[in-house]
Symmetry: C2
Subunit: 339 residues, 2 copies
Amino acid sequence: MNTNRQWLLAKRPHGLVGEENFEYAENPIPEPGEGEVLVRNLYLSFDPTQRGWMEDRESYLPPVQLGEPMRAGSIGQVTASNNPDFAVGDMVQTTGGWQDFVVVAPGQGVMGLNKIPDGIAPDMMLSVLGVTGLTAYFGLLDLGEPKAGETVLVSGAAGATGSVAGQIAKLKGCHVVGIAGGPEKCAWLKAEAGFDEVIDYKNEDVDARIAETCPNKVDVFFDNVGGDILEAALNHINMRARVVLCGGISGYNATAPIPGPTNLMNLVIMRARMEGFIVIDYMDRAGEAITELLGWIQSGQLKYQVDVQEGFENIPNTLSRLFTGQNLGKQLLKIADPA
Amino acid sequence: MNTNRQWLLAKRPHGLVGEENFEYAENPIPEPGEGEVLVRNLYLSFDPTQRGWMEDRESYLPPVQLGEPMRAGSIGQVTASNNPDFAVGDMVQTTGGWQDFVVVAPGQGVMGLNKIPDGIAPDMMLSVLGVTGLTAYFGLLDLGEPKAGETVLVSGAAGATGSVAGQIAKLKGCHVVGIAGGPEKCAWLKAEAGFDEVIDYKNEDVDARIAETCPNKVDVFFDNVGGDILEAALNHINMRARVVLCGGISGYNATAPIPGPTNLMNLVIMRARMEGFIVIDYMDRAGEAITELLGWIQSGQLKYQVDVQEGFENIPNTLSRLFTGQNLGKQLLKIADPA
């Protein structure tokens, strides 16, 4: 391979993101400078937050610029190295972007450059042990502070983050209720992930079902969705409830601002807290989380699903899957196998 | 006086509360039972939260029932006592309601029954040392956690709670900006209460003015208003900001739910917290707050305004003043002087 295939951001999206927002390009493979390594991307991570990176506004990261490769987390393999800490053939996690090759050095990009421990498969590293798993871990435990016997409600529950958050809540002795879209996702949550109750927002009255499935009200709401789902949950919060704002996927592709919940005064009446967070603030504690998550996986107490698409040409459409709810578990795309 | 004049809740309000929601009545003066005292109400407190008590829905207190005297905080004087801790002539604070006389015992009602320390005037006890002052104290300090050099933004800033919250923030070394309605209130906030900057929401673009007056962004937003003001403030929060939800007066008289802020995702991007509280949870620490507030008043560091209406017949219309913004400072009504 002599070229670096890329998908560049070509047009900022208005509404649902699609292939038309990107442009295919072929460029020379870059050369690593002093201290840098050249990484071949093998797996790309797809995350709802990427939609925000495409907007031309300040956020927790600068926007992706037009003409740049789309930013994305990735697993790859070192193919050339000017850094003594990395050898050709090493499997690494970085922010490789939508391209075959990236030049990086430790500390660069959102995720830096980190070797993957032996025995950890790329799909596990990019999902339950990656950003989405760590988001679930720190968001639920640090902000949600679930206590045994409490009720934890999770939206986007079949997603890569929500499913892990709910299972950690179960491990902490909570009554766990998940909100997800469609019978297939709901069935997986009950049968495999061990949620106590599930609510199919596509086919059920979410507000009424929260009342039914949370008879002691909601102590922790782990929210990935926002909008109407957040409003319904706020109707049922308990005294001193914690609302963990992880994301708001319901609004990411909106063409106009969507109204917020009309019932924020319930936070006052119930002396409740709503708090947002970004997992990159917790990266110095990633080791602690990965160790515990891996233990739960190995003991069979933590299940995860990955949805692995294939083919470089399918990259833009794979991002859209997140927003149409097509993905079952963590959305990945495999570009190539390791050498 | 042989009768107990009362204003009873006659009709639950839809929209702005007014005299038509109440009915005047005269009843016999009640007799205190074992351990109880008879109190003659001298001053009534008017608080935005009373509007919520008139709704037929569960909240942090049960609704006032139709045909009952309207619930209200009050200062009164003991006129008969079957309780050895209270003597005829004692000045007391209680939840006397909209009537001349009430029978109470310690521990009853929202505020219990407490003697007023010597030398504290009734209007001070019902304002800066009362529920509104304590709300400002605990909300700002316990939830807002202001640090010297931070920026504190207060809505409803000329109100009984907001004006105290802002002045406490000044005492803690913060840059303090108040949002209030009209030039008279804004002038008082700058000249008397020592706010650094004021925003007149009736005559200025709140969002643009927050940007101007809070060049380092908003670390603490103490919100009494909700709605559009909350949305504007959320546009300018700093990293790890604390939004203290004290009230939402913009929605109290709405006939339909008003949309919440469209920008709650800013809580995620800025890792910020929004938290509600009710001052009655802090009553066991009231002494600590009153001691500190009184010290600041006596040293001239804390100013307060009271707006004292008179006349039993004016009670219902005095409540409406809160929602039309007519009151300057804490709204009270004097029924009678002490004997």
